[in-house]
């Protein structure tokens, strides 16, 4: 059976959602996500996909419909980008706190103001504290595989999962990828079940006002207060890392792909300089690594696949032996540093011997990321390591500015 395709990243996502048998789709068009919602709408209308397609009037409502459907027992899906993600921000927090199993694809795009339709990661990064699991796909195959695995993860751990992929670089480019068989995916994904499914035969009131203190219920049993509920989300988000690895191992067995679900290293084993990036940028670094290796530099690149929960020990284990770590990102926590850089720095903090760290900001608002610029920044850092002033080291360096 040849399930090979050459299609855009957006279509790859839509096809994965079809294989995952999502039942309620509610999405609002926004560049560069739009083709996902168009493709899903087309497949449903043609009867190729058995689902409800709800043409919502906003992103806030899109996630609202998914929240309602997921609470009432249906596997739901939405996709968005940029300002659409920000518009649904309160719903993100809501879905996480309600422990709803759902999946959303975010086609990463810079946020306004100023308006930008082009790629960067600020949309996802700005929502990193909401309580959603966040993974980043590097290519179209990963879009397919991660989306399918995401449904299983969300439904096992009851935490919503965001599958990120780069706007335009992945969403609109064409790459070859394999689609697993529908029957095999059905076997891989059990039926949807939400722990607190709304059911008149077993009535519960969900997401009610919860007092600061723990309080007894009608049976005299003490129930958690707000803080216990929130701690449980955090603890179980950490635990979800293990489940993601288990799912990946099972996916590898069933479909022959996977193996590095949390961090995907390239030439890192003996690397003195390790580059870290998320999404398609990590793949772009392969050329840089190859070139520098040929010149004798021991460079490697680590693609971070799972950003939230932050894989503290996985990352530390790979990076700690290196001499220097260069973190390249397409977003930042304004007024401080790159968010990924800060998280990574914190992961390495407990180690008495740890690499020097460098933060590079690149590609904001779709500014072209030229491989030769990447190559030059890495080489400069490798060459000038000894002479860099400490205050320069902990300050974001901007690559590709034009003025």
């Amino acid at each position: 059976m040849n399930n090979s395709f050459i299609e855009s990243g957006n279509v790859a996502a839509a096809l994965a959602v079809k294989l995952a048998s999502a039942e309620v789709i509610a999405a609002y068009p926004i560049t560069p996500q739009t083709p996902v919602t168009e493709k899903l709408s087309e497949m449903i209308t043609l009867g190729e996909m058995d689902a409800e397609y709800i043409a919502v009037e906003s992103e806030h409502s899109a996630l609202g419909v998914c929240i309602g459907a997921a609470s009432a027992g249906a596997r739901s899906f939405t996709a968005t980008s940029s300002n659409g993600l920000l518009y649904m921000s309160e719903q993100l927090h809501w879905a996480a706190g309600a422990r709803l199993p759902m999946v959303m694809c975010v086609v990463n795009r810079g946020v306004g103001a100023p308006w930008s339709v082009w790629n960067d990661h600020q949309d996802a990064i700005s929502q990193r504290d909401a309580g959603w699991i966040q993974v980043f796909a590097k290519d179209h195959q990963e879009i397919v595989d991660m989306t399918i695995k995401a449904f299983r993860l969300a439904e096992l751990v009851h935490i919503p999962v965001m599958v990120n992929y780069d706007g335009y670089y992945l969403s609109h480019t064409y790459m070859p990828f394999e689609l697993p068989n529908a029957e095999d995916v059905k076997a891989f994904l059990p039926d949807y079940e939400y722990k607190h499914t709304l059911n008149p035969e077993r009535p519960e009131s969900l997401n009610t006002v919860t007092l600061p203190d723990a309080r007894v219920d009608i049976n005299g049993v003490k129930r958690p207060g707000y803080m216990e509920v929130r701690k449980n989300l955090h603890d179980e988000m950490r635990l979800a890392m293990d489940v993601w690895e288990e799912i990946d191992a099972d996916y590898h067995k069933s479909f022959g792909r996977g193996g590095n679900p949390i961090c995907d290293p390239y030439c890192c084993d003996d690397a003195e300089f390790i580059l870290v990036a998320m999404g398609s940028l990590a793949n772009q670094f392969h050329d840089v690594v190859d070139q520098l290796r040929a010149e004798g530099y021991k460079v490697g690149v680590l693609a971070l696949q799972m950003y939230r929960p932050f894989p503290t020990s996985h990352i530390a284990k790979i990076l700690q032996p290196a001499k220097s770590v260069l973190v390249f990102e397409k977003g930042l926590s304004y007024g401080n540093q790159g968010a990924l850089y800060a998280d990574l720095k914190s992961a390495l903090y407990p180690y008495p011997a740890r690499p020097t760290l460098h933060n590079f900001i690149t590609g904001l608002g779709g500014r072209e990321i030229r491989t030769e610029n990447l190559y030059q920044s890495v080489k400069d850092t490798c060459l000038n390591e000894e002479t860099l002033k400490p205050e320069h080291i902990d300050t974001p360096q901007w690559i590709g500015l034009q003025l």
Partner: protein
């Protein structure tokens, strides 16, 4: 004549669907309509509730006063959440009624976008707006349905400068399956309109004027009486719109035969939220009501 069932106090079911000892204010109009409305809806329901007085009435975790499943949601998204629940019911092949209960804020102001979307899609839900004419849950701030010159904490001293939104008319412009206006003081009319709504497919919108003692500035025992005055004076009308056709119901329909209605001054003067009304304003309001009912008498005289 309207085709509404005729439930009376005697044949109204004794079964209760909401527990006492809840956090609603003493004499709360919402409590009355909620309690009686649920008798029409029955247990095969899922409710969707945004931030509002009902969020509090319904109970704080882990105790719920409502005996049906309730999904609390963010303020702006009631109709969207209800849409999602409805979609899941469709997938599961269930005929469970999906009923949204939102206040005037969650319907006419912050909730209007989602409601408009759900109306445009004609989602098969019952959407109930209990309109106490201000943001009562947060302490009586003005809303889009607060009447002109109504006093609230954000329209103090001289009252609201703007007219209120006519939400049923906004809803009617979307041409949904069914629209009805009701009053908490006529709970049986509400009950029977819900019975009717249950049988209709598409979006059923019910707007129910809900007296609120602390917010309106009346004594708690006057809750039912004040709502009656609103209808008897012809200020608030009980009607239905089906297939674009409007007809008065219940008490409002009965009043078509009367040459004059109860003076609106009775209603206004009993509420401290109307302290910014001078005699001239009452006269102007009365004139507006008189004009409206002149039109009604011509329009509905063929019944």
């Amino acid at each position: 004549m309207s085709s509404i069932a005729k439930t009376n106090v005697i044949n109204l079911t004794e079964e209760e669907f909401v527990h006492p000892g809840n956090r609603a204010c003493t004499g709360c109009g919402l409590s009355i309509l909620y309690r009686i409305g649920m008798k029409a809806l029955g247990r095969d329901c899922i409710f969707v509730v945004p931030p509002s007085c009902l969020t509090v009435l319904q109970g704080l975790y882990p105790i719920s006063a409502t005996q049906m499943p309730v999904l609390n949601c963010t303020f702006a998204s009631t109709a969207a959440i209800a849409t999602g629940v409805r979609a899941a019911m469709k997938r599961r092949g269930k005929k469970t009624q999906v009923v949204a209960w939102a206040g005037d804020g969650g319907t006419a102001d912050i909730g209007i976008q989602a409601l408009s979307g759900a109306l445009e899609r004609n989602e098969d839900i019952i959407y109930i707006c209990y309109d106490n004419e201000a943001y009562m849950n947060t302490g009586v701030q003005r809303s889009g349905t607060t009447p002109r010159r109504g006093l609230t904490t954000t329209t103090p001293y001289s009252g609201k400068k703007e007219n209120s939104k006519n939400v049923p008319e906004i809803v009617a412009a979307h041409n949904p399956a069914y629209i009805a206006t009701c009053s908490a003081s006529y709970p049986l009319d509400f009950h029977d309109k819900l019975l009717k709504a249950k049988e209709i497919r598409g979006l059923k919108y019910i707007h129910i004027q809900t007296p609120c003692p602390p917010g309106w500035g009346i004594e708690e025992h006057k809750t039912v009486a004040i709502g009656r005055m609103a209808v008897e004076s012809g200020l608030f009308d009980l009607y239905e719109i089906e297939n674009g056709k409007k007809q008065l119901t219940g008490q409002s329909s009965k009043q078509l035969k009367k040459k004059s209605l109860r003076p609106v001054g009775d209603y206004i003067n009993l509420q401290t939220r109307y302290n910014a009304y001078d005699e001239e304003h009452v006269i102007a309001l009365q004139a507006m009501i008189d004009r409206k009912w002149e039109k009604y008498r011509k329009e509905f005289s063929q019944e």
